[in-house]
Homo-oligomer: 355 residues x 2
Amino acid sequence: MTAVMPAGVEYARDLVGPALGAAVARLSPDVRKVAVYHLGLAGGDGWSESTVPARAGRHPGAAAGRGKSGGKALRPALTLLSARAAHAVPEQGIPAAVAVELVHNFSLLHDDIMDGDTERRHRPTAWTVFGVGAAILAGDALLALAQDLLLEDTAPQGLWAARCLSVAVQRLIAGQGADLAFEQREDVPLAECLAMAGDKTAALMACACSIGAIHVGASPELAMGLAGFGAHVGLAFQLTDDLLGIWGAPEVTGKPVRSDLRARKKSLPVVAALQAGTAPAAALADLLRDSAALSEPELARAARLVEEAGGKSWTEQEAAAQLAAAHACLAQAPMPDEVRAEFASIAEFITARQW
Amino acid sequence: MTAVMPAGVEYARDLVGPALGAAVARLSPDVRKVAVYHLGLAGGDGWSESTVPARAGRHPGAAAGRGKSGGKALRPALTLLSARAAHAVPEQGIPAAVAVELVHNFSLLHDDIMDGDTERRHRPTAWTVFGVGAAILAGDALLALAQDLLLEDTAPQGLWAARCLSVAVQRLIAGQGADLAFEQREDVPLAECLAMAGDKTAALMACACSIGAIHVGASPELAMGLAGFGAHVGLAFQLTDDLLGIWGAPEVTGKPVRSDLRARKKSLPVVAALQAGTAPAAALADLLRDSAALSEPELARAARLVEEAGGKSWTEQEAAAQLAAAHACLAQAPMPDEVRAEFASIAEFITARQW
C-alpha cells in the first residue's frame, strides 16, 4: 500500500503555517532564533518547503515526513478537522492547531537532547547547533506559548481547551519519563511499554483530534469520540513507527536500516518478541544484552529473531486492531460525513505499511 | 542590618508545603522522584528541614536560604499575603502559591543545567544526580503541573490567574534567554542588563505578589498595585543578590567569596562598573577579558575595581530606589494595614544588606 498524503494535510499546512509563524514571532529574539530553526520556519511566515521525506526516530511528527513535507502538518490537520466535526469553519481551529503543534515541537526539542539525537528532518538538531541550554529554553518557550495562546480566549471553551492540552502535556511527559527509565531496565513488560506509548504518543494525538471541537464548544459526546479516535490512531501510529524502525527502508525513514535495533531501543516489536518465551526470544535477549555495537550481520539476525519470536506479527496485528478501534470510534461520533471521511483517510495515511 | 525572617514566611512554609507535596504526588513515578529530590520534599508531605543557610547563585529563591529554610517559602508567603490583600483567608491563596513555587523550581531545574551549576542548597543539583534528561523532564513536569493546578479552578478567576502565571513564565524564559546570550557578548548595556533582571527575576516576583489576589477576584487596582510592588521588590532582590555575589560572606551565601567574579558573570555591579568610562573600569575590563582563571589576588583586585568604578555604590543606590518604589506601590494599593505591614517586612528581609 502506498501512502498518499490526504489533501487536508497540505491544506492545514497552508492555513496553520502563518499562524504558527505569528505565534513564534512573539518570543524574545534569543529564544525565537532557536525555535524558528527547529520548526523550519522561513522568515516567520510559515513552514519552509522541505522536499526530502524524512523520519526522525520514534516521534510521531516524523510520520508526516513520509509524505512530502506533510508530517509537519499532521496534527494541525487533525485539529482543523476536529473543529469542523463540531460544525465550525476550519479557521476556528487554528489557535488550537498552533497550540498542539507548539507542544509537539516542545517535546521534540527536549527529546532530541535526552536521546542524544543529532539529526532531525535531515538537519542537525537544535541542541547541536545552539547548545543544550538554548534548546532547553526554546522548548520551554514553546510549551509556555502554547498554553498562553489558548488562555487568550476568555470564553469558557478557552479554559476547556487549555485543560485538554495540559492533560496531554502531562501524559506526554510521563511517557517520556517512562521511556527514559526503560533504558535502565532489562525486562519491560509489554503492557508497560504499550502504556508508555499511550502516554508519549497517543495522548497528544487524542488531544489534537478533540481540542479543535472542544475549543468551539462541542458536546462531550463528540469530544470523547474524537479523543478515543485519536488515542487509537496514536497507538496505531506508534506501532507502525516501531515497525519502520526495524524494517523500514532508509529512503522512507531517513535513517539507516534497522536503526532502532542499532540503538537497542525497547520498541514494541522487540518487547513483544522478548516476552515470547521461545528459543528465538532467548537468542534475541542474548544478542541485545551484549554491550558492544552490533555488526550488520548481527543486526540482520536480530531483525530475523524479532520476526521469528512473533514480534513483527504481533505488532502488525496490534496496529491493525488499533486502527479498527479508531474507525469504530469515528463511526459512532456525531459529525458531518465528509469530515469523518477525511479523518479516516489521515488515519490510513499515517499507519500505512511501507516495509 | 541583620535579616530576621518574617513570621509569614515560616507560616507559608507550613501551609503550602503539604499542598506542594500533594501536587508533586500527582506526577508519574519516574518524574516525581527527581522533583521530590530537587524540592527537598520529605516523603511528599511538605518541605524537609534544612538547617544550613544557603545562597545558590543568581536565583531569587536562594534568597530565602539566608534565613533558616525560609527561602523555600518566600514566594508562597507573598502569594498568601496577596490573597489576604483581597480580603480572602490565606488558605484561598494556596493553589496559586503552589503554582508559583512550581514555576520557580521549574526554572531552577533548567537553569542549573544551562549554567552547569553542580550544587544548590548544599546538595548536588538534580541533573548531576539523575542526568540531564531526567532533570529537563522534571522541570517540564513542574511547569505543566503549575498551569494545570490553576486551570482546575473553573471560575473565571482561574483563567485570569493562569494567564498571570503564563505571562510571568514567558518573561522568565525571555530573561534567561537574554542572560545566556549575554555570556557571548563583550559589552552589554546596563539598561539591557536591568531589563533582563526584570524578566528573569522580577516578573515571577510580580506574579507571586499579585496572583493570590487575582485568583480570588481582586480589583484591577489592587492587582496592578501588587504587581508593581512585586516587580520593584524583585529588582531590589536581584540587585542585592548581585552585591552578595561579589561581597557576600561565604557563610551567608553558601558559596566561595566573590563567586560571581570567579564565574565572570555580567552581574549588575560589574556591568555598571564597566560602563563608567574611567581608569578602574578599563582595568576591570582588561582583567575580565583574560580567559585564564582568576587568582585570589586578582579576584580581590576585581572586586576593588568594581567598587572604584562605582559599580557597588550604583547597585546599592539602585536597590534602595527599587525598594522605595516598592513601598510606594504598597502604600497606594488598597489592602488591610496588617497585610501591608507584612508585605513591607518581607521586602525589607529579602533586600537586607549582609556584606
